[in-house]
Symmetry: C2
Subunit: 498 residues, 2 copies
């Protein structure tokens, strides 16, 4: 990757003034920058005020931090060489924060936190409604506190001072980007669904309240509409789908399932609510991927003995989204549940708890981890929604799963989906396994790439301008496919091959 | 004059959103501006936050205030139609402030105040020395308070709120521009005399502390070196000298005499200390031009009766610079003083006061206004310095006074120099009177022009880049001419015709 970060150190050696060269300090600096190919670099007043002393202290060998703002290059600091940057993914549920050394391009830290706005409602629309009825400032403050906290913690952990952060890239869905910038969300949920801003936006660090250098560059990804946010665009960037010659699929699984189908010529995005099931949210034992969370499950076909992989190797305290996919898939393969997700009779590990049949996953003393029949049913509803979206979406452009040579799978689903397991339960299409390419958190991945490579800003604009949004929930065929998809893998297995 | 102010109101009518046009607010606005020929107009975050409510309140007929900043056009306010601007001339001695309605181009107010920095020293170099020895912040604060006061007073007098001021242009000498921006002056008085910045500078209104809209555009004129400040460049702009086909002379008389000789192809500037005499500063009775100040003097050749013109028609309390030129010229013509400035014997109106011969100008009861022989001598020294500068300067490029077809005379000399009187005493060259063109305060005039016509910013850059500075005080010929010039009009009258 061509290393050309959004903010960068630049050493400039200038010849000192002399009776035959009375050029003023700022003009001298501009000349030096021009000789290095940096034209029209703006100097803010606070930097200008520090310039003469820095020039003479350094013997006219100046260390600058320069950044790209919306209006061109700008000097962000003087007398500094350490330049760090933050990539933010503001999800409805979680905020992720990567810390980069922009000098080396190295990722040196990552931190995440639950979006404090969940206290106003897990569902984003609930938050928008509360915002519309007088709690806008509280919601903005709440998100801001979460973001400030996670950045400060990430910096502290790695010994980085907040004023050493000179660039921030922000990817989030349209609502989250609006809350982040303190923008009105009132017109987003009501027809004709109008955001305040879709184009990319460079904000003054001061106005955003971020704990970073006050001159820092803050770049917010563009949205492609109320339902296709900067997180999707950032993810598409990260996947590389926009450079493909043949149509590729990019699936981002979270609270919503976002599906992108396209190539270098066109990009179509659809989104639908799959429910929190796929994130582990419906299960009592559902947890985000962190130490003590089950990430992988194997059940022996004959002994039905269960083998768990736990993050950090400790005793498990819950299961993440990808673990849940493994678990349901293995329970089905081992004959513990049937096609409809109901428990088959005569299994020792299935017990009745509070009147509901439950599967014992792990026991520790008197307590244990259980998955019950209702939770499995909710999970299957989510996987059905997701598969149906995929199916209808691909067919709507006259393609079938067979035609898709690359399927990028991203999302905050713990440790990444095991395609084999997801295909077993009919969540992903039954196509050759090598076509599935895991991406992890693609949204923050794209934010990190732009941070390290400012040339990608153009690609981002290009992606945003190519996107067509396709409404998913109103589709008649969808309901039809959905019915069968609530079974494992589907009532019509042929449909899985598309 | 083509009216295209630095900040301007712009009405934009947009089609409201509809199910077939889901363009976001900011993007919709950008489209509307583009249709009006305004491309790439930056929207600051605080404006973006107010945009959705303003759009809907106004029924998508938006009133904007747009300004030109260093990096291009920028939205400064929304929902406003009144747009005002301030032109500032920051002189070492006085601060002048013009208030313009940028909608009509009309000048609606003017106010002036003594530069509070004079309490640190009348002489600018004294202030720079005090700044270098720890009083920098005090000097900056002092100037800032003076400027804030004069702007606030000007606005108050005309019922303009401070946040209705969206553009400010600032012309001052290099030192004053530096103090205004809070820039170090330490390197200006020491060889090789290096300012922090010479190029023109757009500052954030917030950083300057001005009592204007926080998004206002603040433009500071470029300097052409330590000794040729933005005030001179602004004055050259105002005079139009830079458009002349044949060499013209532009004389700005203040504490310093600044001389510009040039045309559209080249511009040469020289400056020298003439002393405060020409501003009325050496005389006890010297005052700035305001109500109660003598602006014109006539002395009857036979009766020697004195006739005074007083600003405001009241009893006089002092005399301004142009009045002093009149007075000395008339005293000479009436035979009250001789060529060397000494009183001729036997005049009733000349009396001995504190051991010095003094001329009674005006009596009121027990007190009176007197000009004494020492003051006349100091005045003649100043006029001699000024004439000598002119003579040497014009000759240095191989020209003589005869060759100059236009002589612009500017300066804070009260009511403008009467060329006839100035020629009589040998302060201005003896050339046809119609070649003298009075300009008044040309520095603030140029600042006002840029405020009303942003296209002139290019001309300003052009002027700054063409200027060559010529050191005056080190000239051998100067000393030679100066000796004779201390007499009225000169020991060698031929030299006055150049």
């Amino acid at each position: 990757m061509n290393h050309s970060p959004l903010a960068f150190h630049c050493g400039v050696t200038l010849s000192p003034p002399s009776p035959s060269d009375k050029t003023a300090d700022a003009d001298r600096l501009a000349g030096g920058l021009q000789r290095q190919g940096l034209e029209d670099v703006t100097v803010p007043l606070d930097i200008l005020r520090r310039l003469p002393a820095e020039l003479r202290r350094s013997g006219f060998r100046l260390d600058l931090v320069i950044g790209l703002s919306g209006e061109g290059l700008r000097i962000l600091d003087v007398g500094k060489t350490r330049v760090f940057g933050i990539a933010l993914d503001i999800g409805s549920t979680n905020i992720e924060c990567l810390l980069y050394d922009l000098g080396t391009g190295e990722k040196i830290g990552e931190a995440g936190v639950e979006n404090p706005q969940v206290y106003f409602g897990y569902d984003v629309l609930t938050r928008v409604q509360r915002s519309m009825t007088g709690e806008f400032a509280d919601l903005v403050r709440s998100l801001s506190e979460g973001i400030r906290g996670v950045i400060a913690r990430n910096c502290e952990m790695h010994g980085i001072a907040s004023d050493e952060i000179y660039a921030v890239t922000v990817a989030g869905n349209t609502i989250m980007s609006h809350f982040f910038l303190g923008l009105d969300v009132d017109n987003i949920p009501l027809s004709p669904y109008i955001p305040v801003v879709n184009r990319s936006f460079f904000a003054d660090a001061g106005g955003t309240g971020l704990p970073v250098n006050s001159n820092a560059v803050v770049y917010v990804f563009p949205n492609a509409g109320s339902y296709v946010g900067g997180d999707v665009i950032s993810g598409i960037l990260f996947s590389g789908l926009y450079r493909e010659e043949e149509p590729a699929l990019f699936i981002d699984v979270g609270t919503n399932v976002e599906i992108t189908l396209g190539c270098r010529d066109w990009i179509m995005v659809g989104a639908g609510a799959a429910g929190p099931a796929l994130e582990g949210g419906v299960a009592n034992i559902g947890k985000k991927a962190e130490a003590g969370t089950i990430s992988r499950v194997r059940i022996d076909r004959r002994s039905r003995k269960i083998a768990l992989e736990v993050i950090g190797g400790t005793e498990p305290g819950g299961i993440c989204g990808s673990g849940l996919i493994d678990l349901v898939s293995e329970m089905y393969s081992a004959g513990i549940i049937d096609q409809s997700g109901k428990f088959n009779g005569g299994r020792d590990e299935v017990i009745e708890r509070d009147g509901v049949k439950s599967y014992l996953l792990f026991r520790s003393g008197d307590t244990g981890l259980y998955l019950n029949e209702n939770e499995i049913k909710n999970f299957l509803l989510s996987k059905a929604a997701m598969f149906s979206f995929l199916y209808v979406f691909v067919r709507s452009v006259g393609l079938s799963f067979r035609d898709i040579k690359k399927v990028y799978v991203a999302g905050a689903l713990g440790c990444g989906i095991d395609p084999e397991k997801a295909i077993t339960i009919g969540m992903l299409p039954d196509i050759p396994r090598e076509r599935f390419l895991p991406l992890g958190n693609s949204s923050i991945g794209g934010a990190g790439e732009v941070l390290l490579q400012r040339g990608l800003l153009k690609e981002v604009e290009d992606i945003a301008s190519k996107i067509t949004y396709r409404e998913m929930n109103e589709d008649a065929e969808l309901m039809h496919v959905l019915q069968g998809a609530m079974f494992i893998p589907h009532t019509d297995p042929e449909i899985l091959k598309g």
